[in-house]
């Protein structure tokens, strides 16, 4: 039960439907309230248990997790290769915090001199909450979702990301079971930095692809 619960719990958060294409938040809130009251009435779960679960999950779901992943990839080329090949296995290497995380399939896409990656969910708002924390409201907005697949350079420029004309933009639309995270390029002049110092340089938006770092 606990594994199933964790999975469904994360699925809810990584696949958040409380946004503007499904009838408005008031409708969604009232549906959710009805569902919770039925679950309580049938003795499946209490509201307090749900709150505890959400709090426990969010306590571990922070952009620092994604930043730590990136810093390790920057300092350990073999890890970077494993991360690119199997992100879930690479995550498991990072330590005990991962045990709380849910087993959604994750793929890390790496920026290079020639390629800039950016993630979106055009159909709803799929997002790697475990690694990045709760998603920003713009990520769930219709404008971002519609535009970043059509004119990513213009959208990125509005975020302050200016790309050379020959850089290939790769947009990753999270249409199914996978969640994506971007591995930004390591900034110049950071050769002497520790892994911890490097992690502090990595922003949430860089992990989405809407910032350089």
């Amino acid at each position: 039960m606990s594994h199933d619960h964790d999975h469904d719990h994360d699925a809810h958060h990584d696949h958040d439907h409380s946004h503007d294409t499904h009838g408005g938040t008031a409708t969604m809130a009232s549906r959710l309230a009805a569902l919770v009251s039925q679950l309580e009435a049938k003795g499946v779960v209490t509201e307090a248990q749900i709150d505890q679960g959400v709090e426990a999950f969010l306590a571990h779901a922070q952009p620092a997790n994604g930043a730590a992943l990136v810093a390790r990839a920057w300092t350990d080329p073999a890890f970077a290769a494993r991360l690119a090949a199997d992100a879930n296995a690479a995550l498991d290497e990072l330590g005990s915090d991962m045990t709380h995380w849910v087993k959604v399939k994750l793929r890390a896409v790496t920026n290079t001199e020639a390629v800039h990656n950016v993630i979106v969910c055009t159909l709803c708002s799929c997002y790697p909450v475990s690694l990045l924390g709760p998603s920003p409201s713009w990520y769930k907005s219709l404008a971002y979702r519609a535009r970043v697949v059509r004119e990513p350079r213009a959208v990125l420029a509005e975020f302050g990301v200016e790309l050379a004309p020959d850089v290939q933009v790769r947009v990753w639309d999270s249409t199914a079971e996978l969640r994506y995270v971007v591995v930004p390029r390591r900034p110049a002049g950071t050769d002497g930095m520790s892994e911890r110092e490097l992690a502090a340089l990595v922003s949430r938006d860089a992990l989405i692809g809407t910032a350089i770092c």
């Binding site: 697949v149 059509r150 350079r153 213009a154 947009v171 199914a176």
Partner: protein
């Protein structure tokens, strides 16, 4: 069911006009190529309706920006990658 392999050219079908699907409308009837095979997953279209779903192959399909939006798009060079189930796809002559 896994009909395609990495490198295969595929064409998306029309998105379902009714009911749930995870094939975005902007990617229907577009040609791309399979970049990765992620394994078998229950089909979202069936799962959303509470139907039993035989897991089917899920692919990472890469589309060129020009194929999706036309050659005049100012954002080129760009690609769009989407994760699509086997039954969303038809083979395309490479």
């Amino acid at each position: 069911m896994q009909r395609f392999a990495v490198g295969d050219a595929v064409r998306t079908r029309a998105a379902r006009p009714e009911g749930h699907t995870r094939l975005p409308r902007y990617l229907e009837r577009r040609v791309g190529h399979v970049e990765a095979v992620y394994g078998a997953f229950p089909l979202a279209d069936e799962r959303a309706e509470g139907a039993a779903s035989e897991p089917q192959a899920l692919y990472c399909v890469v589309f060129d920006g020009a194929e999706v939006w036309g050659t005049s798009a100012a954002s080129l060079p760009m690609t769009i990658s989407a994760d699509l189930w086997d039954s969303y796809l038809d083979p395309e002559q490479a």
